[in-house]
Amino acid sequence: MRNEFRALAELRGRLLWRRFTARGGIAEGVASVVLLVIAVPVGLAFAVAIGFGAFQAVRAAGGLRTDVGASAIFFGIWQTWTAVSLTLNDRDGLDLRRFLVFPIRPARVYAMGLLTGLLGDPVGLVWGAMLGGVFVGAAIARPGAWLAVLLVVLIAFAVATVVLIALIQEVLAAVLSTRRMREWAMIGSVGVSVGFLVLLLWSADRPVRAASDAIPVLRIIQWFAWPGAFPAAAARELFAGRVAASLPWIAGLLLATAITGWLAFRIALAQARGAGSSGEGSVGRPGEVGLGLRGGRFGALLEKEARYLYRQPLARVDALLAPVLMAFVAMKVEPRIPAEAGEVVRALPLFGAAVYCHLLLQAFWLNAFGWERGGARALFLAPLDLTAVLRAKGLVLYAYSLVLFLVSAAVMAAVGKGMAPPWAFAAALVLHAAMAPWLFASGNVVSILRPKAASFAIQRNSALSTFSGLIGMGIVSAAMGAFALPAFLALRMESPAILVGGWVVLGIAGALVLRGVLPREARLLADRREEFLPAVCGDDA
């Protein structure tokens, strides 16, 4: 058992190490350290805040403050942990198929996978810090033997959370076994979440029902989130000094964890043993014409890019996200801009939408070849000018971004109360067009130097390396800084003409830069094909 665990832990450790020592790994390592430097203080700050909450809840020793404190701690951590894990985790560590050939009981492999996943996940350290904060806060408030029981609750809570996340992932993988269903389910869930959020924010300034009215409902609902509910109930008793009363809740937590873990394992095992075809339907008739992008190599490239983007779940989610968020901005932000603020200020939300539509598609201009996989070889085998390949990618992406912006602007106009002046729409179009060449010109360099084989999923983190993400932040910040200058000047001089003129100049300069730079980028791509292809095709994954 110990040998098996050690081997599995070593495997995960080595894979992590290889990621940093592989080609380009040093940059990835530096980027990860930068993120960790940001994440650790944030995690510690949360730990201190949660620890203080636990301290107060224990000191109150019962009553509303204890009840609310215990619930807030466990439901809060559970909700964030689950959301982050479902977004970030790619289930790699839980893939039983890889381990079925070894003479180890699958259940043990699965349990070890969960455990090493829990201990080896850097993000998991943040949750660990928070739970540590709860323990320390409670210990300072009331030292004693009861802390041993609290420790059991905290550990069981962590295991329960991980196990339920695993079950959700297994069920999703099993039920949504066809790609199309999976994509639509993901888009649907994002849509429901966004819709719920908008509804919540919409009703924020309307009379809210008294909290007491909602409590009975919440009490029933909470059991759907049992990894938070059981420990919260146990902690309420423990904080109030009733150790014996906490025991049934702890037993319930352990039992539910065991049942959930068993279910997750059985589904995973059935999936691993019965991995079959995905059973996809057709996307069209053989030889269909479609799209209307006719003739020539460049037309074929445009068509290929358009079809790829259209079939990309992340792009579909963006199409859903942009108008919804912009509707929210129009409903909530625009009416709050005073009329006397001036036309330029009133137009800012629309300008924000123009920029945001580029930001949403960041993964596509920072990792332009990430979804080509083996197809990338075809671009080098065919007698193609790689400049045309880059140009086609940029054009299709710009067109898609423009559609997003037009739809968003239309939604903003429809629901907004403090509508932007008409000239602002033209200015926003100029801003959108002017920013594109700068972003694409620099994004191409990142795409060529830091390619990553991306999965067709909606998780943005799977589409970009940490390093590319950081560089992207730099590019966007620089572009926004440059395009903000005319806006500042226009605000100061109260002249929209300066704003539009400045952006036109920046746009022309960007177009010239892109034109000059594209052939060089194409040469760079051709020169780097030996490093580029394994990274894009996933051969070095």
Binding site: G295, G299, R307, Y308, R377
Partner: protein, 262 residues
Amino acid sequence: MSDSPERLAVETRGLTRLFDGKPAVSSLDLRVPAGAFYGFLGPNGAGKSTTMKMLTGLLRPSGGEARVLGADLSRDGFEVRGRIGVVPDGLALFERLSGAEMLRIQGQLYGLDRKVAALRAGELLEAMELSAEGGKLVQDYSHGMKKKLALACALIHGPELLFLDEPFEGIDAVAVSGIRRMLQDLVARRALTIFLTSHVLEVVERLVTHVGIIHHGRLIAQGSLAEVRATGSLEETFIRLVGEERPAGTGLSWLGPREVGA
């Protein structure tokens, strides 16, 4: 470069490729006659795929010269690309296109008119017995279907020379048989030259007219099938040339029958 009257589809001299200073392919002198079905054989890691990648432009040679269809690869590589078809190791398919879309777009990328490309795509899908799956995304194809589609993609522009890297690897006997028949037919019609790497010797022996054997990055035999295999089978010749030097039965003494529960 050639000093013989024989027309050569591929000719290399001193072709070398180093990885981290170590030779993966060393001073390779290949001669592939035009119209031949050339089997490029070797054990795993011998340098077959590296050679093919150099000949198709995916890898840059560290040294030596290569001429493909009479053109100098280092100078006229772009022009050569339009005249060859390639099924590389790992394939070169855009998996989010349907099979029919993939074929037509591939044809257009090689300069075919859209209508011609669509017409040929239909014919190739039929020839590969993929017509019913033409509307399905490539991603959802089985491995054998992907190999057949990749072969169709390599053929759609009517190449003069076809490079196939391990076309029979990972596919079932039925698919192997289908592909084999098609390749035999193409060569019988003198439609094109085929350069194929493989380590499935029985299949290769039934297909090829010429053979080259590479071992540790060096060409150790080359010529017509009859010349290379002489009196034995291709497999016997291959094993004699690249076979294990360690005598059987040495080492691994702990392997063997053991009692249950031991």
